[in-house]
C-alpha cells in the first residue's frame, strides 16, 4: 500500500479511486477532521489557531501570506508522508475545490521536488478523455507497490515515535 498525495487535495473522486486500488489517499479532509475533532479550547470552524501559520513557516517564509502558511501547516505533513502523487490540472470546482492558488503552486512544487512517482493528468473534457483519464490513473495506481513487508510496516510505525524523540 502506498500513501498517495492527490491534487485537488480534497477530491472525493480521486480519494475513492486511490482507495479502490488498495492505497491510502492523503487528503485535506483527514487533516481537517483531526482539527475539528481534537479536543481544544479553541473554537470551530476548523480550530486553526494563529500558531498554525507559524508551523507553516517550515514550508514557506514569513513574507508568504498567513493563509498560505496556515494551509501548509495542514498540507505540509501530508507531503512529507507522500510516496506517490496524482496531480490533476485544470479541475472544475466540483471535482475538488482548489482554494488558494498560491498554496496550490507551492504544494505542487514541493511534491514535484520529492522524487516520488507522479502522474500528472489533465481534467477530461469529453467521454473519450474521461475514459483515458480513469485508465491512466488506474494504470498508475496498479504500478504502485500494493503490500509492504512486515519489516517495512514496522519501520513505518516506529517513525512517528522517532520524530517525537528528536523533538
Amino acid at each position: 500500500m502506498a500513501k498517495v498525495f492527490i491534487y485537488p487535495i480534497n477530491s472525493l473522486i480521486l480519494a475513492d479511486l486511490v482507495e479502490r486500488f488498495g492505497h491510502k489517499p492523503l487528503t485535506m479532509m483527514s487533516q481537517i477532521r483531526e482539527k475539528v475533532t481534537n479536543i481544544s479550547l479553541d473554537s470551530p470552524p476548523i480550530n486553526i489557531t494563529s500558531e498554525d501559520p507559524k508551523l507553516g513557516l517550515k514550508y514557506a517564509a514569513i513574507e508568504v501570506p498567513a493563509g498560505v502558511r496556515g494551509r501548509m501547516a495542514l498540507i505540509g505533513p501530508l507531503i512529507e508522508e507522500t510516496e506517490a502523487a496524482i496531480i490533476v490540472e485544470n479541475p472544475p470546482t466540483n471535482f475538488g475545490c482548489v482554494g488558494c492558488n498560491r498554496t496550490n503552486e507551492l504544494m505542487k512544487y514541493l511534491i514535484r521536488s520529492k522524487n516520488v512517482p507522479i502522474l500528472e493528468v489533465k481534467y477530461p473534457e469529453s467521454d473519450e478523455e474521461a475514459r483515458d483519464f480513469v485508465n491512466k490513473i488506474a494504470e498508475f495506481l496498479s504500478s504502485l507497490p500494493k503490500e509492504k513487508s512486515e519489516e517495512e510496516e514496522k519501520a513505518e510505525e516506529e517513525k512517528p515515535e522517532e520524530k517525537e524523540d528528536k523533538k
Partner: protein, 415 residues
Amino acid sequence: MSAEDSGVVKIALVSCGSEYAGVQPEFDEAAAKVNAKFVFPEIDVASIDTIGREFGLEVASGDLRLMMARAKAVVEGTTNVDGVFITTCFRCAEGAIVRNEVRRYIHRHSNIPVISYSFTESTTAGTLLTRLEALTTIVRRRHLLTREVQKGLTAGIDSGSTTTKAVVMKDNKIIGKGWVPTTKVLESAEEAYSQALEEAGVSREEVQALGTTGYGRFLIGNHFKAQLIQEEITVNSKGAVYLADRQRGPATVIDIGGMDNKAISVEDGIPGMFTMGGICAGASGRFFEMISKRLGVDITELGALAVKGMHENVSMNSYCIVFGIQSLVNSLARGATPEDVAAAACYSVVEQIYEQQLQEVDVREPLILVGGSSLIEGVPKALGRLLKIDVLVPENSHLIGAVGAALLASGYVEE
C-alpha cells in the same frame, strides 16, 4: 428580522479563507463584542467556475472566485445581511486586487456598508473592534447619524492617543473648548473637560448629555457616565461634515490622528467605506512630532516652515518612522534646508495616506481634512497637490471627535 429588531447585526464574511490564517476566533470575538455575527453568503458551487468571466476578473484562486460569488449573493439579496466584511491575506497581490474590486462592486450595486481589511496571523480582536463597531453603528444608529443640528447643552470628549479634546456646545455653537496632551487617560479627560466647562461657564450638572470617543472612550465614558460611547470613525465623519457645513451629499474625510489615520467615504453624513491605518506611525501626528523635535521647532511652527519648502529637494525612500527620520537627518547633513525637510515630511505623510488608504476608498469631493495634523499648513497643501483637488480644513478641525460626540449626544437630550 431587521438588525434593529433583533439587535444582532448580520455581517457577510467575504474572505479567501481567513480561517486558515488562524484569525477566525479573533473575528468572532470582535463581532460578539458589538453584538454582531458573521454569516457566509450561500452560493451555487458551480458558479465558482463561471463567476470570474461574469465578473470580468479571472483569477486563479478558487477561494477568490468564491469571494466574487458571495459578493454577488449579497448584492442580489440571496443572502440578507446588514453589512459586509471583505478580507484577504495581507501580502497577497491577487487577493488585494479581488478585495478592492469586490468592495467597489458591492458599493456600486447596493447601499450596504462595507469594510475591508487584510489580515495577518497576528490580527487581533482589538484591532478589528473599532472597525466592526463603526460598521454596526452605521447599521443600528442611522437615525442618530442623520442628526444635523446640535440641540440643548451637550459635551463631547475625544480621548485620543496623543491629545485629549473636549467641547461644550449649546444650541449648535461651541461655547467651550479644552485641549490637553494625553498622559493618564482619566486625568487628561478630567482636565480637558474642566477647561471646556470653565470656558463655557457651565457646571457638569447642567450638561444634558455627554458623548465620548477615541481610544479611551470606554474608560472615560464609564467614568463620566456618558450617554454616548462611540468609536471615532462614525463620530469624526459626522463631526467633519458638520464643521465643514457639507452635511448633504458625498464627501471624503481624512483624519490624521496621533497614532493612526482614517479615510472615510461619506454620504449625507453617514460613512460608507472606510479604512483605518494600522500600527505604523510613519503617517501620523507622531511622525510630525519627531520631525519638529529634530528640526528644533515647536510642532505649531512646522506647517509654516513646510509651506516655504520644496519636498522635491529631499530624497525620502521610506515611510517608516525610523528610516524616514534617517533620510531627513541625512538630507540635513547634506545641506538641505529645514523648510525643505519640513515640506518633505508633510509630503511623505500624505503620500503614505494616498498609497495605503485612499486606494481603498473612492475619493469624492469635497475632501475634508481633520485631526491635529490638519493644522500643519504643509499637510493640506501637500494633499491637495498630490490629489489635484482643493482640500477643505474646517475651523476647529482638531476638535472633530469632541464636536461630533457632542452633536450626536444631543440626540439623547429629551426635548
